[in-house]
């Protein structure tokens, strides 16, 4: 916050100087034309650690946006982008939706984050009083589970400060949790990812968990290693500029 206040004061001084330069051509008044508006940005570093037993995470989808945007809501139907992300792990459309809704910036992780592994990525955004972070990624050994947080207020972070968040596990509600062979895209199955048919409750909720073939559901392609409980991952957020 302090940093931002400093920036806006800086802008005011610059514009005053520019104005006086326009109205007064006195050559002794040294004005540097390079003071013309410069894009000021803030940067953040995100580190996501996969805390699950055997649920690789699809490439992380990251958006920084205004507070009016919400990527999902309990009890509301998933967007098409969220359906893709949660069923196939492909966050492309999810991020396009955020951009179309006015997100300041979006970013995608480099690849799968395996259980026990972490990935760090940097994002840069314009300065605003209303910066909110949303992250989402799929538990790929499920039908349509995703983990994420949304609307994390970046204004709460001062330069160099870190905050830690834990990610709950959601169900996109777009595909029944059949756990059947051929329906799960992750390495547990190698089955289908996205399917446009919505054969489940068609609203987002917290995930109920999986049964697996080691807990009485013989037809499940999942075994006990694929069970999970919340939180699914740890997110460490640091402001670096």
């Amino acid at each position: 916050m302090n940093f931002k206040k400093y920036l806006s004061i800086g802008f005011s001084v610059c514009s005053l100087v520019t104005l006086s330069a326009c109205s007064d051509n006195d050559s002794s008044n040294v004005v540097d034309d390079d003071l013309a508006p410069e894009i000021i940005t803030q940067s953040y570093e995100l580190t996501l650690s996969n805390l699950s037993s055997n649920q690789p995470l699809s490439p992380l989808a990251v958006a920084i946006h205004g507070s009016s945007y919400s990527a999902w809501s309990i009890g509301e139907a998933s967007s098409l982008g969220l359906e893709h992300l949660a069923e196939s792990g492909d966050g492309t459309i999810f991020l396009t939706e955020a951009t179309n809704a006015g997100a300041f910036t979006t970013a995608a992780g480099a690849g799968l984050i395996l259980p026990g592994a972490s990935e760090t990525l940097g994002v840069e955004t314009i300065v605003s009083d209303d910066l909110n972070l949303t992250v989402a990624t799929m538990f790929v050994n499920t039908n349509d589970a995703f983990i994420g947080r949304q609307g994390l207020k970046l204004a709460d972070l001062t330069l160099g400060e870190e905050m830690t968040f834990f990610l709950p596990i959601y169900d996109a509600g777009t595909e029944a949790n059949s756990e059947l062979a051929g329906t799960i895209p992750g390495p547990a199955d190698g089955g289908e990812g996205f399917n446009a048919v919505r054969d489940d409750v068609n609203v987002v909720s917290r995930h109920p968990g999986v049964v697996t073939n080691e807990d009485g559901y013989a037809d499940s392609i999942l075994d006990s290693s694929h069970r999970f409980d919340a939180p699914g991952a740890k997110l460490v957020l640091k402001r670096t500029q």
Partner: protein, 234 residues
């Protein structure tokens, strides 16, 4: 994280103040976060620090048992109001369906400084969602609390849907979603922890016409938390 620090900051003044005398008005939004579990009519209660609707680790009262086994909150209302509690009964006008929310607006808690919430989870034998004596902050603001699913410890989790809603009668009163099975033989007749404890979850099965359970193992599951409560202190 913000909420925790806010809570921590308010704990001390609450402890120092022997009685809360200032009247508080709160809004309470309760969201069922689950995909397939229903909440029976909710009880939202404001009371003093001597009271509990339930306490984890303790034996369930008869009134709590009636709520947890059959969804009947009338006993809890009567017994708590006799001790000065104020109640909001059934804000959702019936069941609170999965992934839906209900709102209690402008609840004047009087001089009661603590908030508790209960509702039975369906389909379960004696599972319930609960908040036990949350200290209402004096500072104006919005506070978020996540609630777990408890087992009253009063009835074996046989998972047979037979309409059994009376205290001491085995079975699950109803499966409102209608998405389970029938003719289950029963998961168990034993309740090993007879005190209020964190619910272990339904076992279920995938046999709609038999098996051990009348609930579906793929559907009638949950992970904690099962509810989100947003309290706005005005």
């Amino acid at each position: 994280m913000k909420i925790n620090s806010k809570l921590a900051a308010t704990t001390l003044p609450l402890l120092l103040a022997s009685t809360i005398t200032s009247a508080q008005t709160v809004d309470v939004k309760i969201s069922n976060l689950t995909q397939a579990m229903f909440f029976t009519p909710l009880l939202v209660s404001a009371h003093d620090d001597s009271q509990h609707l339930f306490e984890s680790g303790a034996v369930a009262t008869a009134e709590l048992t009636a709520m947890a086994e059959g969804g009947d909150i009338s006993g809890l209302v009567t017994s708590s109001e006799a001790l000065g509690a104020l109640s909001v009964e059934n804000p959702a006008s019936g069941l609170l369906a999965p992934s839906t929310a209900t709102m209690v607006s402008d609840f004047n808690t009087g001089t009661n400084g603590f908030l508790s919430i209960t509702a039975m989870l369906l389909p379960t034998n004696d599972g319930f969602v609960g908040l036990d004596s949350w200290a209402i902050p004096e500072e104006v603001g919005t506070y978020t609390i996540f609630l777990n699913a408890y087992d009253a410890g009063t009835e074996a989790n046989d998972e047979i849907v037979n309409g059994g809603d009376a205290v001491g009668v085995p079975g699950i009163p109803a499966n409102p979603g209608g998405n389970g099975g029938t003719n289950g033989t029963g998961v168990t007749t034993n309740e090993s922890n007879q005190n209020i404890h964190i619910h272990r979850g339904n076992i279920g099965d995938t046999d709609a016409a038999g098996g051990v359970s009348d609930v579906d193992s793929r559907i009638h599951r949950w992970l904690n938390p099962v509810a989100k409560v947003v309290v706005t202190v005005k």
